[in-house]
């Protein structure tokens, strides 16, 4: 089957994760992975992003498939259940808003910029080498650190479930996937 341009988007995902190690401000680009799926779902009423353009899914597919880094076992039943999927979506949202709140505090001057990437919402990794300062307000950088934390955390979770279960296990409980499917359900009532 002939490859289309969008079959190479895993390169963009990989580049995104790599760039975050050098300059944290690139993390802002990750907003594309949030807005594009939502816009496609809201306008077209499809999961076109998941189905075609998701670079992260392609990356998992490649690593777990061709590179053989997956056990290719069935995902546990509870992980594909609606309570878990929607529960994870709510948890993800809550953590996202907490990150936005921290960004607001830095913008408002109530808190200093924290040059850390928080992995799995818990572990604060020093990341000061990726911040070169001065050009923008520290709040801009705080959002970048927060957003990169979200992206790195979800990648790590995705890699773990890729290794344990099928390559694209992340897709089963991906909050963006759950949310776009929810939008599609609302837009296309059965």
């Amino acid at each position: 089957m002939k490859k289309k341009w969008y079959d190479w988007l895993w390169v963009a995902s990989l580049a995104y994760l790599t760039l975050g190690f050098f300059n944290i401000l690139f993390a802002w680009l990750g907003l594309l992975c949030f807005f594009i799926p939502l816009i496609i779902a809201a306008v077209k009423g499809t999961k076109g992003y998941c189905n075609r353009y998701c670079g992260r899914g392609q990356l998992f597919s490649l690593l777990g498939g061709r590179f053989g880094l997956s056990r290719k076992r069935d995902i546990p039943r509870w992980m594909k259940s609606k309570p878990f999927r929607y529960g994870f979506l709510i948890f993800f949202f809550a953590m996202f808003f907490l990150m936005l709140w921290n960004t607001y505090l830095v913008f408002a001057g109530a808190r200093d910029l924290q040059q850390v990437v928080t992995l799995l919402w818990t572990f604060k990794l020093p990341w000061h080498w990726a911040y070169h300062g001065a050009l923008f307000h520290p709040g801009v950088a705080q959002f970048a650190f927060g957003f990169y934390s979200v992206m790195l955390t979800s990648t790590v979770l995705g890699l773990v479930t890729m290794a344990l279960f099928k390559p694209r296990s992340w897709c089963v409980y991906c909050p963006m996937g759950t949310m776009t499917q929810l939008i599609c359900k609302i837009k296309n009532p059965q």
Binding site: A41, T46, K47, N51, K80, R168, C171, G177
Partner: protein, 69 residues
């Protein structure tokens, strides 16, 4: 006289499907589409029952069943 033949076809448990589209990508017959971002739909006449989709499905909600045609 009609001859009854058994063939394997892919069946999607639509209630559990996350509509990720992994199955669509691996189907050699282009027999699967994602219906309005809700679930995968197998076109029975195109499906040859190869099982690639069932193997790929990250939620393991596709299974092959024998049908008589």
């Amino acid at each position: 006289m009609t001859v009854l033949r058994k063939k394997r076809k892919a069946f999607v448990s639509q209630h559990d499907c996350v509509a990720c589209g992994c199955c669509v990508k691996v189907c050699p017959m282009d027999a699967i589409t994602i219906f309005h971002g809700l679930y995968a739909q197998v076109h029975r006449d195109k499906c040859v029952g190869c099982g690639k989709c069932a193997k790929e499905c990250p939620a393991s909600v596709i299974e092959l069943q024998e049908v008589t045609i």
